[in-house]
């Protein structure tokens, strides 16, 4: 598998550390209800098909990358820097972060 690092170009996947779903980017606010934190920390979809997940170019440029890929065909549709994603936290992100679930995110039917 080759991962197109936006900074380094296509590199072998052995150079990357895999984290998990891009749900990890949607950090609930400090005062969010426990259900929101439970969802953020523990509940994940297991899609066969299109997915967005997070990879760290640990043996390269140290960039965190959001990959849009297909778990069935292994096709990689796009890659972008986590730091440059649209609607990234911004100056107020860390301290007053609110849940930023993407509108386009699939409905989590399996989650209670």
């Amino acid at each position: 598998m080759r991962i197109p690092c936006p900074l380094c170009g296509p590199r072998d996947r052995r150079e990357f550390y895999y984290y998990g779903s891009d749900d990890y980017l949607n950090r609930p606010g400090e005062d969010a209800p426990p259900e929101a934190w439970d969802d953020h920390l523990h509940l994940r979809d297991n899609p066969a098909g299109l997915t967005r997940d997070l990879w760290y170019h640990e043996q390269g440029c140290a960039a965190w990358i959001e990959l849009h890929r297909n778990t069935v065909t292994h096709e990689i549709l796009s890659a972008r820097l986590v730091a440059e994603r649209a609607g990234a936290a911004g100056a107020n992100g860390a301290s007053t972060g609110t849940s930023r679930k993407k509108a386009a995110a699939p409905a989590k039917g399996t989650k209670a």
């Binding site: 080759r2 550390y17 984290y19 400090e30 140290a62 965190w64 292994h74 990234a88 860390a94 972060g97």
Partner: protein, 979 residues
């Protein structure tokens, strides 16, 4: 038998080698198979299950039968295909799976018992009693059935792995591959042409046919000469593409030194390549298949194409009186070539009524072979004529062709399924099965040379277009354009006796029919029940035929029956090549501190800490055990001064105007308020509220911090910092980078630490101006160093850091000074005792399941700000009496050693899981307090100080009472460190 004037190998150089202890000679370019056939050898080995005599069947890497062992001692390699192994001076090869000798094999008795060894016999026969399987049945079967054996010794030979990149990878160098490589090479693309054989050319080396108005092999030579002159083309012979993977990555095995007589010691035996190609062309040709007829496994029964290859390429007649059995026109070339070379063609038997009669030999149209005889090699065949009469024909070589299967394996490696083509009775690839890879020529079912050339050229054109390159002019050479007329034919019906499909695993048509009869109708089930296609050749010679027999037995068509899945690797790949560089100490990288050499010189045994190597202790004369050294080192630190290399701790340099704010978000406590020149202990949580790591962070300047992590978590913390920064505060003005390797850092600990330091520094340090938890720049030896007043021992202590290149010199100097002050160097054992006495935690305590509350640091969680892990750390269940909390343990009898991992119970409670109250994480003998000590997690522990608990270690067999104490055993007020 070698035929004078025949063949294209160079006969200038004779090469002597040995097989089963006998001397033979061959020529440069011979394989073991061609040279032994030339020497009259026909019996190469014994079969896997029935120990039947077997000979050479093919002339390529798909060989199922002629497997031998090459080399001796640790370098012995079993199951080498004689058709692939090139001969070299003094090569030693041996046959396999026979005892006492190849021609007299006592296990041949298995063949007589064959009726009992049908499909699934393991499952049926050895089911009961169950306990017999491991002790009796399995060892017995393994001894009787099998191939070659490994030496069992460690192999010291060199293997290599490597990467390569190209625009276009061409797999196979027959006509289609060569012309594709030439077209792409002329157009300026970077091309890798990989050929499994020792020589480029594919079937053009094995056939008598013209390309471009000259003999095929001469056209090959011309193309190769041009390719060699192109700097953008890389020619790789002896290189098998073994797998197709995602993103245009291909695995390849190169036989680098396996054909070299006396290889230099550093020449790799094999190299495993990962080739990344923007586009690929699969020109891997096709493989000829057998027809199943009774006793079709005798040495001398070969594929027709192999008989032609041995004749036309190596000048070897595979027999003195050859018969041919086929269902297609192509096989008749065998008779033509043999006759032209003066070899007797005894008969051509063609299953088709309308078989062509092409020459001066007897042709039986509409006939079949129904039997063979000859104990150790073929002597005679029995045929059934179109009229139904049986005839016997004396022959020592039967060339069989049931048609050709495209070598499409690579196209299936990403889960693609090929499609069936009736006209050639074979599966062919479907475009797009492997993105970026296109099959051309025979690999695509295009069997004539002219059509293969055209397809290769077109494939190169398409690849160049997608690469954005302009094709160069190239005219197609004239070539043979015959159709491959064929009648699908898999097995001779109504004939008595076993008819083999999978020669390598001894699977017959009867086994497949039995599988179908017993309900294993799916091709995947049949495969596993019969072991069809599971031998080293992975069914290359037999899968399609077995499938046809299964389709027949189940009344289905072949496309509906389906094909088993081809998976990588295409040919066997040695583990040594796959794992090149990973043998022994190569398995994991070693990280050494700058003081490593000095520590080794002092006789310190090393202990692994992750990838780092750190000294355990520094033995002195008269010290017989590690404990004596450790106790002395602890005492000297507590009473004099000690030196310890702490460079392995992670160091992260953090700079920028928002650095303080960033650290506030990472740590539970606050760092933005820390004054420059000061150090603070920090606690870091994971987002789920559990402790990730701890360590000190120094503020070197207003926008410059230096964080330290534990040795174990350095990588994890760096990753975490990058994630938090890039995901949650990408526009903050802060950057972090690991500087662990750049700085060497040493602890100076003990009451004389300040005195030692002043003996070293260019200007003495004012104790009052540099109190506990200070940091700053100092000068020594004319250079600059960083000084931190921190302590992991509980004593007055400093850590001094210098650029790594000065580390060794400073360490040697520090240890010499410590010794002159009556102190010493100390290692990990003493470091551990010193920190346990002080109740300092390590990853033995913060092991991923504990909270700040559990380790008693809940006071460090700021209420004034958000930080990673804050919300989750307040979840119910992570706080309160039910939690196991960090405590100290002292045995009531001080001499009783506490074992790490021991469990705690209420006194009087039975030591069973249901009564478990906690467990021990760290233990030591404290020379300072003259007692064994333990750190432990105990349910509601902080409320139980002064009480007794029962400590039970089932593994070490200990059971005694301990007092629950504050985890800080020594100097709880911390006055010693503050000075």
């Amino acid at each position: 038998m070698r035929i004078a004037g025949k063949g294209i190998i160079d006969r200038g150089q004779t090469v002597g080698f040995r097989f089963d202890g006998r001397d033979y000679t061959g020529f440069d370019g011979d394989t073991l198979a061609s040279a032994l056939l030339a020497g009259g050898v026909r019996l190469f080995g014994r079969s896997f299950k029935y120990h039947r005599p077997r000979g050479v069947v093919t002339a390529g890497s798909e060989e199922p039968s002629a497997l031998v062992t090459v080399g001796q001692g640790a370098a012995q390699v079993p199951n080498v295909r004689a058709t692939v192994q090139e001969i070299y001076a003094n090569l030693e090869a041996r046959s396999q799976n026979r005892w006492p000798s190849l021609s007299l094999d006592v296990m041949e008795v298995n063949d007589l018992l064959a009726p009992f060894f049908s499909a699934g016999f393991y499952y049926k026969t050895f089911m009961w009693p169950r306990s017999f399987w491991e002790k009796l049945y399995e060892p017995m079967i393994r001894r009787a059935a099998g191939l070659g054996a490994l030496s069992g010794k460690s192999n010291e030979e060199v293997y290599e792995k490597a990467w390569a990149f190209c625009d276009l990878l061409v797999v196979g160098s027959g006509p289609a591959g060569l012309i594709a490589a030439l077209a792409a090479g002329r157009a300026g693309a970077s091309v890798i042409l990989a050929e499994e054989d020792q020589a480029m050319g594919g079937r053009l080396l094995a056939e008598c046919e013209e390309v471009g108005g000259k003999p095929g092999h001469l056209w090959v030579a011309d193309v190769l000469a041009e390719l060699k002159g192109l700097p953008n083309v890389r020619l790789m012979t002896r290189t098998t593409i073994t797998g197709a993977y995602d993103g245009g990555t291909y695995g390849a095995l190169e036989r680098v030194g396996l054909h070299v007589a006396r290889p230099p010691k550093d020449l790799p035996r094999e190299c495993f390549w990962r080739i990344v190609a923007k586009r690929a062309i699969l020109a891997s040709g096709a493989q000829e298949r057998q027809i199943a007829f009774p006793m079709n496994d005798r040495p001398g029964v070969m594929t027709a194409g192999a008989v032609r290859a041995y004749l036309n390429r190596w000048g070897v007649a595979a027999g003195q009186s050859v018969t041919i059995f086929a269902n297609n026109d192509d096989a008749h070339r065998t008779a033509r070539d043999l006759a032209a070379a003066g070899v007797k063609v005894a008969a051509v038997i063609d299953v088709r009524e309308d078989a062509p009669v092409a020459g001066d030999w007897k042709t039986y149209a509409g006939a079949q072979v129904v039997g063979t005889s000859g104990r150790l090699a073929l002597r005679e065949i029995t045929i059934r004529t179109a009229a139904g009469a049986e005839e016997k024909i004396a022959t020592d070589c039967l060339a069989v062709s049931g048609g050709w299967n495209p070598t499409l394996h690579l196209t299936c490696h990403l889960n693609g399924r090929p499609t069936w083509r009736d006209d050639i009775a074979a599966f062919v690839p479907v475009p797009g099965m492997v993105p970026g890879l296109e099959a051309v020529g025979a690999a695509n079912g295009t069997m004539s040379t002219a059509a293969a050339l055209a397809e290769g050229l077109a494939g190169a054109g398409a690849a160049l277009q997608s690469l954005g390159l302009k094709g160069a002019k190239l005219d197609l050479p004239q070539a043979e354009n015959g159709g491959a007329r064929l009648q699908a034919y898999w097995q001779v019906p109504d004939a008595k006796g076993r008819a083999w499909l999978d020669l390598a695993n001894d699977v017959t048509t009867k086994d497949v029919r039995l599988a179908a009869q017993e309900g294993f109708r799916s091709v995947e089930h049949m495969k596993r029940y019969t072991t069809q296609g599971m031998a080293p050749d992975q069914g290359k010679n037999s899968n399609v035929a077995a499938l046809a027999v299964l389709a027949d037995a189940t009344g289905r068509g072949i496309p509906e029956t389906g094909l088993t899945t081809f998976r990588p690797p295409y040919v066997p790949v040695s583990i040594a090549a796959l794992g090149a560089g990973g043998q022994g100490m190569g398995f994991a990288p070693q990280r050494f501190t700058t003081s490593h050499k000095a520590a080794c010189e002092r006789g310190a045994p090393m202990i692994e800490a992750g990838l780092w190597y750190r000294p355990s202790y520094f033995p002195r004369p008269g010290e017989a055990t590690w404990r004596q050294s450790c106790d002395r080192e602890v005492a000297l630190v507590r009473n004099r001064v000690g030196i310890c290399d702490v460079s392995t701790l992670g160091k992260i340099d953090i700079q920028g105007p928002d650095a303080g704010r960033f650290l506030d978000f990472l740590y539970t406590n606050t760092f933005s308020t820390l004054q420059p020149g000061r150090v603070r202990y920090g606690l870091m949580l994971r987002e789920d509220g559990l402790v990730m790591d701890d360590g000190t962070t120094a503020r070197l300047a207003s926008d410059h911090y230096l964080m330290t992590t534990t040795t174990a978590a350095a990588g994890q913390v760096m990753r975490h910092l990058d994630f938090v920064q890039q995901a949650f505060c990408p526009d903050w003005k802060v950057r972090a980078v690991s500087v662990t390797e750049q700085w060497a850092q040493f602890a100076i600990a003990g009451p004389l630490a300040h005195e030692l330091l002043n003996s070293l520094l260019d200007a003495p340090l004012d104790d009052k101006a540099f109190p506990f938890l200070s940091c700053g720049s100092v000068r020594l030896g004319g250079g600059e160093a960083r000084l931190f007043r921190i302590s992991f021992s509980g004593e007055l202590g400093y850590e001094i850091a210098v650029p790594a290149r000065y580390g060794e010199a400073l360490y040697r100097d520090l240890v010499a000074r410590a010794e002159s002050f009556g102190g010493c160097a100390y290692g990990m054992e003493a470091l551990n005792v010193l920190r346990i006495e002080k109740g300092f935690i390590t990853h033995a305590e913060i092991h991923g399941r504990v909270t700040a509350f559990d380790v008693g640091l809940q006071g460090m969680m700021s209420q004034k700000k958000d930080f990673i892990g804050k919300a989750a750390s307040q979840r119910p269940g992570l706080l309160g009496e039910a939690r196991e909390q960090l405590v100290g343990l002292k045995p009531l009898a001080p001499e009783k050693p506490i074992g790490a991992g021991a469990h705690l119970f209420d006194p009087g409670a039975a030591p069973i899981r249901q009564n478990d109250q906690g467990y021990v994480t760290s233990v030591c003998w404290s020379p300072t307090l003259s007692t064994h000590l333990g750190l432990a997690f105990l349910r509601n522990g902080r409320a139980r100080l002064g009480q007794s608990v029962r400590l039970v270690d089932h593994m070490r067999g200990t059971d005694f009472l301990c007092e629950v104490t504050n985890p800080v055993f020594f100097d709880p007020e911390g006055g010693r460190a503050r000075g």
